[in-house]
Symmetry: C2
Subunit: 357 residues, 2 copies
Amino acid sequence: MSQKTNVLKVLALVVLSVGLTTSSFAKEKVYKLKLATTWGTSASPLIDAAKNMAKYANEMSNGRLSIKVDSSNKHKSPFGVFDMVKGGQYDIAHSTSYFWKGKDINTLPFTTMPFGMTAPEQYAWFYHGGGLELMQKAYKKHGMLSFPGGNTGVQMGGWFRKEIKSVEDLKGLKMRIPGFAGEIMAKHGVLVTNIAPGELYTSLERGTIDALEWVGPSMDITMGFHKIAPYYYTGWHEPGAETQFLVNIKKMNKLPKDLQKILTLSMKLAAFDMYTQNYHMSALAWDKMTKEYPGIKIKSLPKEVMLSLKKVNDELLAKITKDNPFVKETLDSQNAYMKKAREWTKISDYLYIKDNL
Amino acid sequence: MSQKTNVLKVLALVVLSVGLTTSSFAKEKVYKLKLATTWGTSASPLIDAAKNMAKYANEMSNGRLSIKVDSSNKHKSPFGVFDMVKGGQYDIAHSTSYFWKGKDINTLPFTTMPFGMTAPEQYAWFYHGGGLELMQKAYKKHGMLSFPGGNTGVQMGGWFRKEIKSVEDLKGLKMRIPGFAGEIMAKHGVLVTNIAPGELYTSLERGTIDALEWVGPSMDITMGFHKIAPYYYTGWHEPGAETQFLVNIKKMNKLPKDLQKILTLSMKLAAFDMYTQNYHMSALAWDKMTKEYPGIKIKSLPKEVMLSLKKVNDELLAKITKDNPFVKETLDSQNAYMKKAREWTKISDYLYIKDNL
């Protein structure tokens, strides 16, 4: 064999080797994604769901999936994240579905509904009762995938400076309560006001407003409302508020299959984690509040008021579903599922707590 | 440059390339692990937690982590899985912690405790209240890591052919109720019997036993007890039974870091999934049972009986903790955490359900 032939053989081997090496290197390509949250940097546990998700994806992919999380402090557009992901400026959003009801009414029911399901009931609906499929259908026309992003549990009814003893007491009440619950309250004569979060404490303290709704102990504690309002009402309007990951579908499809799986399961896990984290934060915050302010009184709205709120809720929803068959399909699915799930909740968790009071 | 030098340079490149290629190929090595469950092939949702975990790990690792799940139908040793993982015949087990109290009393508290935490409370304790760290400590001396493996929610108190109206009614009652709850019952004069699962239905039907405890609607429905016992008692003894993954620590350490992460997070996710799946199965099973057998009556044990069971529970635990400081440390941690978490559960989920009855 001539030396020339040898050189050619060796070169052939090199090409083969380099080819193999390149294909292996190609597999190690880093996919960089950008995530925008509706929440600010200090909004635990909401912001933590996005951060945990990015961390999980990075660790499990050995760094191949790198997700940069921008809070609203950075991108300055808390309610612009839907459009930014739809338009491709960001790849993923962490926010919640009912914020988009003005853009597309079909997205309304995927956060929580007044008098609706609790977190465990709703997770069962999402993953085993057809909920996730309905949610994907709602977002498909916007070029986005949508996934549960973490639950706040039952949100409290809010902080009140005076007690509500009848439907009559709602008339003229000045209250900060946004969204659908605000509409229900407005129908009862409540003067629903819109005040920036930074001014809520002073407004409540000075009597500019008589009541306000925020989240629950986990996030209310830093706002300090418990120092100035003696009545903490139980929840009725957001019994299991689920946040949401939105993913640009084209960006998802560009990922290799294993990274698609890692991203999807990281979102699913970060969601459950947030529910657990919020449970923990709520327990500790409520304990601290009641130790420092033992005068806080837990109140439930009187039966008469609850029934009236529920009646108006049903009327408002009937107006929406009349012209929106997909909203009707979703609410029907939720209500049928809740009917079964609630019976189980009653004989398990509910009676267990009751028997041990 | 001589042709010889060229050949040497090319050879050097080949060696370099082959080196790179080999290291890239090495990364694609498939790690095969074997998992043994305590459960049989048809024991949904328990067995599904193990199967889902293996599926997640396989998909996210692009096939590099391959976990074979053997049910107890295959390995024939449902309660041998602790020793098989400890000894290295299997790498992972899916079972539950309180099964091992005879081997090591320190493992007792990590499934559920009578009058203890519900699933959301306990998950908060595991992941944010120090529970997971305590569990790892308990298993370290056995060369195993231990992780939550999925929750059954509140287990029902069982199916009874006759009503329990007083502590007196427990005397002479023939009941299948294993484990710690069985010891508490025995102290009340219950004749605790041990009957193979396959013979339970006939034993209850013929009156060989008066009552039995199984799981809850999700798993009770296939046993058929609702067809022959009219009273279904609410739970007190297993308010949030968590299953468990055990991993041989040497096998875990042999995995590359990213696969360790994938395995750990797949277990965590599969656990949450099982809780959700069980919620769903329970809701549907309970709905079906009550539709087909509308005569089933939900009963809670009378307050007097509950207080007596709790008293004996505390006495039995005091005997155990006296000689076992680690069990005391764990139970103290659980009780302190539950005290706070329960107050939150009461004003959130509990009052939300109550207000909407």
